[in-house]
């Protein structure tokens, strides 16, 4: 199934119509989710209106982890089967993941200032999220620093796999160091601790962020594949 879609030519035909569809879904979900989250949903009885930041913060945090996990899987595929499309996928996903991580850090900081009374605190979750952001930057920098593209792909894949160690540390940081950031409240033993009226906008926004990622990933990947084709045809012309 996966190997069927892993053919670059087939990917190009498929993504030609799949990427606008995902971007369209993202547009619709943002159009529904943003007013729902920012105006229609109830304010929190303790946090007041600032709870609305969560609808941006939490989906960005989820998908910045999810994207890194996906890059890890793509890196493994790239190293084991040496598949070119996996390289392109991992490389194209990285800037999106880094942006989501940055959104998560900035919105968390904006939320922390009125709620915790501090813009930044070196607690386990905040620090490990910052570490994830730096790992993203290092990964992108390594890709750009190595000239030979195939070699860059596999070196970056090794780095990406080593960086996977950070994912469980982020996930469990709130349980290991119970300092400031609240522990998980949606996926937990004994059911969710969040009121149902807040689940609707939260999952809508999570869906919107995911569709945005999927759409942008395909756009990025298509651009990278086109660039490769242009370069290889230029080399062929120079040789001829």
């Amino acid at each position: 199934m996966l190997s069927y879609f892993a053919n670059p030519a087939r990917f190009m035909t498929l993504s030609a119509w799949a990427s606008p569809i995902f971007l369209g879904i993202a547009f619709v979900l943002f159009a529904v989710g943003t007013p729902w989250a920012l105006w229609l949903s109830p304010a929190d009885y303790q946090q007041g209106e600032t709870v609305r930041i969560m609808y941006i913060h939490v989906p960005a945090a989820w998908w910045s982890l999810g994207i890194y996990a996906l890059m890890g899987a793509a890196s493994l595929v790239s190293l084991v089967w040496r598949h070119a499309l996996a390289d392109v996928a991992a490389r194209s996903a990285a800037p999106i993941g880094a942006t989501f991580a940055a959104i998560c850090l900035v919105t968390g900081s904006l939320w922390g200032a009125p709620t915790w009374g501090t813009w930044w605190e070196w607690d386990g979750r905040l620090t490990s999220m910052l570490v994830l952001f730096i790992i993203y930057l290092g990964y992108i920098a390594l890709w750009n620093a190595v000239d030979d593209e195939d070699r860059a792909a596999r070196l970056a894949a090794i780095l990406c796999l080593v960086g996977l160690i950070n994912l469980p540390i982020i996930k469990f940081s709130v349980d290991w160091w119970s300092t400031l950031h609240q522990p998980a409240s949606i996926l937990r033993m004994g059911g969710s601790a969040i009121d149902e009226s807040m689940m609707g906008p939260l999952f809508t926004m999570a869906g919107a962020f995911f569709s945005l990622f999927a759409g942008l990933l395909m756009v990025n990947m298509r651009a990278a594949i086109h660039r490769r084709r242009v370069e290889s045809s230029r080399i062929r012309q120079e040789q001829a």
Binding site: I134, A141, V146
Partner: protein
């Protein structure tokens, strides 16, 4: 390794950074006694970072790496040996220099042996991670900043727990976690670094 300034470069960084710290903070003894000892770890992390760039680059340039790959010994073992040698010429001197440096930064005298031991263990963790950073950037010209960016996230845990030991908080747990970091880095580092070096030599 000797060509790049050898033993003196990391020690110079370490002692230099540790000397500038109290000058920047002012001579307040109470402030220095709380903030000083953890800063030993910043100096140590910077010192190791500064030496990583040439670790495999020189081998790649002069063909030593090809000889290492032709050897019957597995590349992973050779990389591990190189890491161990690096620990002997950089890690161990840093740990020993940590004694006078911590005294100068107002750490209590009875905590000095513990700080030196922790620096030795922490240096092993730094080097295990550093092998990977040095290997993936071996082919990059002026890769120093890139290495710093790549290894920085992985230097964070040893610095956190090493600094906790230096300031005397929850020492036993912190030391065990630091040992765990060093063992993990030593176990994974040589394999990831060897995989990267094979690509560099292709």
């Amino acid at each position: 390794m000797w060509a790049s300034g050898g033993l003196m470069t990391p020690l110079g960084y370490f002692v230099g950074a540790a000397t500038l710290t109290p000058l920047a903070m002012g001579p307040d003894r109470a402030l220095l006694a709380t903030a000083g000892p953890p800063l030993v770890w910043i100096a140590a992390a910077l010192a190791v970072m500064a030496t990583l760039e040439r670790l495999f680059q020189a081998d790649l340039e002069d063909g030593s790496l090809d000889q290492m790959m032709l050897s019957e010994a597995p590349l992973e073992a050779l990389v591990l040996a190189k890491g161990a040698a690096f620990w002997c010429v950089v890690g161990a001197p840093l740990a020993l220099a940590g004694a006078p440096v911590s005294i100068a930064l107002q750490a209590p005298i009875d905590r000095i042996p513990l700080i030196v031991a922790a620096l030795g263990v922490g240096a092993a963790a730094f080097i295990g991670v550093g092998l990977v950073g040095a290997a993936v950037t071996a082919g990059v010209r002026r890769g120093g900043v890139l290495i710093a960016l790549i290894v920085l996230p992985f230097f964070a845990p040893p610095v956190i727990f090493g600094a906790a030991i230096a300031s005397g908080e929850d020492v036993e747990a912190a030391f065990l976690i630091l040992l765990g970091c060093a063992l993990g880095a030593t176990a994974i580092g040589p394999f990831a670094a060897a995989a990267a070096l094979r690509l560099q030599a292709e």
